[in-house]
């Protein structure tokens, strides 16, 4: 259990930073960003963030390394086929579920 006061302290800081990032440009920055470098950085960062968050964490997101790996493989294939986000997620989850059923049956 997280202590309630600690939770609210972190929540306020978290929400505050997230909010300021959205608010300050809306208030201060009414001109287009001219720097090509900054625009490029802002273009790449979201993809880099999501990549770093996914690998290797995805391998430990389920009960077994094997089920997670196969789930990732299915997600990659479905994404390459440009399936919808929800389809990719359902495909990966179903794969993990089936693989874990098999693992539990065999063990």
């Amino acid at each position: 259990m997280i202590r309630t006061d600690v939770f609210f302290l972190y929540l306020v800081v978290m929400a505050g930073v997230t909010y300021l990032i959205r608010m300050l440009p809306l208030l201060l920055c009414r001109e287009k960003i001219k720097s090509r470098f900054i625009r490029s950085l802002l273009y790449y960062i979201p993809y880099a963030v999501l990549s770093a968050m996914t690998i290797p964490a995805i391998f430990y997101s389920t009960g077994y390394l094997l089920s997670a790996s196969l789930g990732l493989a299915v997600a990659v294939v479905l994404s390459l086929l440009e399936k919808k986000l929800l389809t990719v997620a359902v495909g990966a989850c179903s794969t993990v579920f089936i693989v874990e059923c098999v693992i539990r049956y065999l063990l």
């Binding site: 990032i21 440009p25 625009r39 490029s40 790449y44 996914t54 997101s61 990966a92 989850c93």
Partner: protein, 232 residues
């Protein structure tokens, strides 16, 4: 539908990480940002330093500042400062996507209407996911644990397929992230800080060696729109 399913997955994740249902709901209501929340929850449950929360949220949510800049330019000059301050809370991917596609200048009532549904959907999805995580059997929760990451894969891969620098940037970020996990000395760095370093190093390197073409500014927005239907 997009944010309902992502927030559902987040709810399961948050409860699995040790949060109560109410805490998960409050995190969603106060932040309305998927990747930021996913990185923030372990910082709270793990009792990591507050400064790490500040830095992590700053880097992960940096993209919102770009969206805010675009939305700001679309807003009518008549919009009052305190209206801007309220509307800022709702700058998420999908709101950005819709707002930016409007031809007319944006007025406050329109933006407030645009904000309401995603914020409600996001919070409701989290509540359902958190409750489901409490009730459902372990094997189902285990299977749903991969959902958010699978969605991230689905967001990264289509643009990486078309734009090779994006693909290499992603691969570099993944390799660095894996290094932080498995190399003994580096693995002492906490998860939030490691994400920041991986993302900044990859982003800075590719902004330097493969800057986006001048005219690509609008294409970047189109991408954000596509992404916008799915991720908050």
């Amino acid at each position: 539908m997009g944010y309902l399913s992502v927030s559902f997955a987040f709810g399961i994740f948050a409860v699995g990480a040790g949060m109560t249902v109410w805490q998960a709901i409050l995190v969603s209501l106060a932040n309305v940002t998927s990747a930021g929340q996913l990185a923030g929850v372990p910082i709270i449950t793990g009792g990591l330093p507050l400064i790490e929360m500040v830095l992590t949220q700053f880097v992960i949510n940096l993209r919102y500042s770009l969206m805010s800049v675009s939305v700001s330019q679309k807003m009518s000059p008549k919009v009052k400062v305190w209206h801007r301050i309220v509307v800022a809370f709702g700058v998420t991917d999908e709101i950005f996507g819709v707002a930016i596609s409007q031809k007319d200048e944006l007025e406050t009532p329109y933006l407030l209407g645009l904000m309401a549904t995603p914020i409600l959907g996001w919070t409701l999805g989290t509540a359902l996911g958190a409750l489901a995580g409490d009730i459902l059997p372990g094997i189902v929760v285990s299977a749903l644990g991969i959902a958010l990451y699978a969605m991230f894969v689905a967001i990264i891969i289509p643009p990486a397929k078309k734009d090779h620098p994006v693909a290499f940037c992603c691969l570099l970020a993944m390799a660095l992230s894996a290094a932080f996990r498995y190399i003994p000395f580096l693995s002492s760095v906490s998860s939030g800080i490691s994400i920041i370093i991986c993302a900044l190093v990859s982003g800075l390197l590719f902004a330097w060696i493969a800057p986006i073409p001048e005219e690509k500014g609008s294409e970047g927005k189109d991408r954000a729109d596509e992404e916008g239907t799915v991720a908050t």
